[in-house]
């Protein structure tokens, strides 16, 4: 009886801590949603009136639309480059000798470990020489570098749960390495690749620090513009844009989950 009681108390603690963590993790994110529907001309919480005016302001502003377009194009291009590149890199590392793999893994994780501001400064100085500052290509290259580790790590973990003999079997049965990779290995790590692609997309879309230094003018990303806007005027448009960004992220996340689930059901 005493043990059961103890377990109940433990369970209660777990619930309390769990709720507290969720509260502090999610609430600051969700708070912008009601703020975005405010009728006031400054950020207020809780909002006192309701309107769509800040969404209208966002959607009709050429500057905001241009920045949104830049960000979406950059995120899509980053995803399209980082996903195949990172997947192939993960595949290559998976096939390498353990000594090489371990060394390369450290190198590959670097962009996650090194403070982004250092990377940003480095990229900025390098781009100054190459003439890539304030260009879309510059943003995409830098974002790809940031996104690669996420793709590599997720795809490598997917490959770890995959019986590599299958690819050898396919090759012995007459498939070239590329064909075996495409028809046998890729379908089985598809979910990892999709997750990696999602992370790459979000990494680019959310990136602020490098964009602050490297993007600008017509090619300013939305995060850069939001940051500047926050500094200059506290305008609820920011809340409306944030809400849109949250929706995009959630939709992408749910999409990846649904694809993953349909795959599992299929199994």
């Amino acid at each position: 009886m005493e043990q059961v009681g103890q377990r109940k108390i433990d369970g209660l603690w777990l619930t309390v801590v769990g709720i507290a963590v969720l509260f502090f993790l999610i609430l600051p994110t969700l708070i912008v949603i009601p703020m975005s529907f405010s009728g006031a001309s400054f950020l207020e919480f809780p909002p006192t009136s309701f309107s769509f005016r800040w969404y209208t302001a966002y959607l009709t502003s050429p500057e905001w639309m241009s920045a949104t377009r830049t960000s979406l194009i950059a995120a899509i291009l980053t995803t399209l480059i980082a996903t195949p590149l990172g997947s192939l890199c993960a595949y290559g590392l998976h096939c390498s000798a353990p000594r090489i793999r371990n060394a390369a893994q450290i190198l590959v994780i670097m962009p996650i470990v090194v403070p982004v501001i250092l990377i940003a400064v480095g990229v900025f100085s390098l781009y100054a020489k190459l003439g890539l500052n304030y260009t879309l290509a510059g943003v995409v290259i830098a974002h790809t570098a940031l996104a690669l580790p996420f793709v590599i790590v997720t795809v490598m973990s997917g490959l770890q749960n995959y019986d590599f003999d299958q690819e050898l079997a396919a090759r012995s049965l007459g498939a070239s390495r590329a064909y075996a990779l495409w028809t046998v290995t890729v379908p089985q790590v598809k979910f990892s690749i999709q997750t990696g692609a999602f992370l790459a997309f979000i990494t680019s879309l959310d990136e602020v620090v490098i964009s602050m230094l490297v993007s600008g003018g017509d090619n300013a990303t939305i995060t850069r513009r939001m940051f500047n806007s926050l500094r200059d005027q506290l305008d609820p448009t920011i809340a409306a844009i944030s809400t849109c960004l949250i929706v995009v992220s959630v939709v992408a996340l749910v999409g990846v989950q649904l694809i993953g689930r349909s795959k599992n059901v299929d199994k």
Binding site: L168, A169, R171, S172, L173, S176, Y179
Partner: protein, 362 residues
Amino acid sequence: MSSATQSLPIEISSLCKAYGSVKALDDVSLNIAAGEFLTLLGPSGSGKTTLLMALAGFSRPDSGSIRFGDQEVIATPPHKRGLGMVFQSYALFPFMTVAENVAYPLKIRGVSKSDQKTHAERALDTVQLGGYGDRRITQLSGGQRQRVALARAMVFEPQIILMDEPLSALDKQLREHMQIELKALHQKLDATVVYVTHDQREALTMSDRIAVVNHGRIEQVETPERLYRQPSSFFVADFVGESVSLPVKVANDTAQLGERALKSDSPIAQGSGGHRLVIRPELLEVTSGAVPETANDLSGHVHDIIYQGDSVLVIVQHDSAGQINVRVPANRAGQTGLPSKGERIGLALHPEDTIIVPEHAS
């Protein structure tokens, strides 16, 4: 299967492969006849899998030559070697159906959809899985998966089939059943089979010839019976079959156990590290009276008697040389006149069963 294809001989010469300072393959030469079932037998880490991977093209030897028929393949990539291969893990594609798995090599070869279907069905029939085509791999038992892997490896009628411990994941009964089935299947197919295993009994059961591999070298290549009865080294004698060995002295082509000269039908093989007498427990004869003059006398006292179901293992303390095991059938004939513990037992080792081997083959 149709006999449009003809099996190919394999000629391996002076193959070397080193991983750092470890020689995985140390100057290996081996000729495998067309249509032969050859087993590479050895303990783990002996190099047998490295040799198979070299044949498959997945591991590039440092030097040497591999010929399939009259074609040098050492630089040929795996997918152009035209081999069927069966893996220990089966390596079936779990997201494809049984039929899709079996048809995979046909699809690559550009065979038409309808031909793919008929060939895959016929291959599945051959491995007694007719009608399983639409099943998913996850719905099959271990033995069935192994059969699918076999069907997939032979559906395109390869001239050479490689098998890497294909039965080791199965339980004992199924494994023994599949050994006999595989042997029968080999007789039906016109293909040279190279089979890797660490299970000596499996090797003896299935092979035309066995190549015993140790430390990256081939110790001996022989038919199962000759390998068992005339091992060339102590390693082979010890690894293949059950045995007890006693050190002997060799001088002037005669082996001596203690003070007594041993009579043996076969000449004593040369080698290094001294010689040993290898005694197979089932080859010793229990004599009721004195051991006949023509045989070697290994009599001693019964130390222990162990009942093992199909047979009884008698542990005998030899007068001078140590302990010897004798296996006696557990039927009445075997048990009649069997002395009890502590009593004297007459043991005859006939010259044709007297195996004397060098510690290391020359």
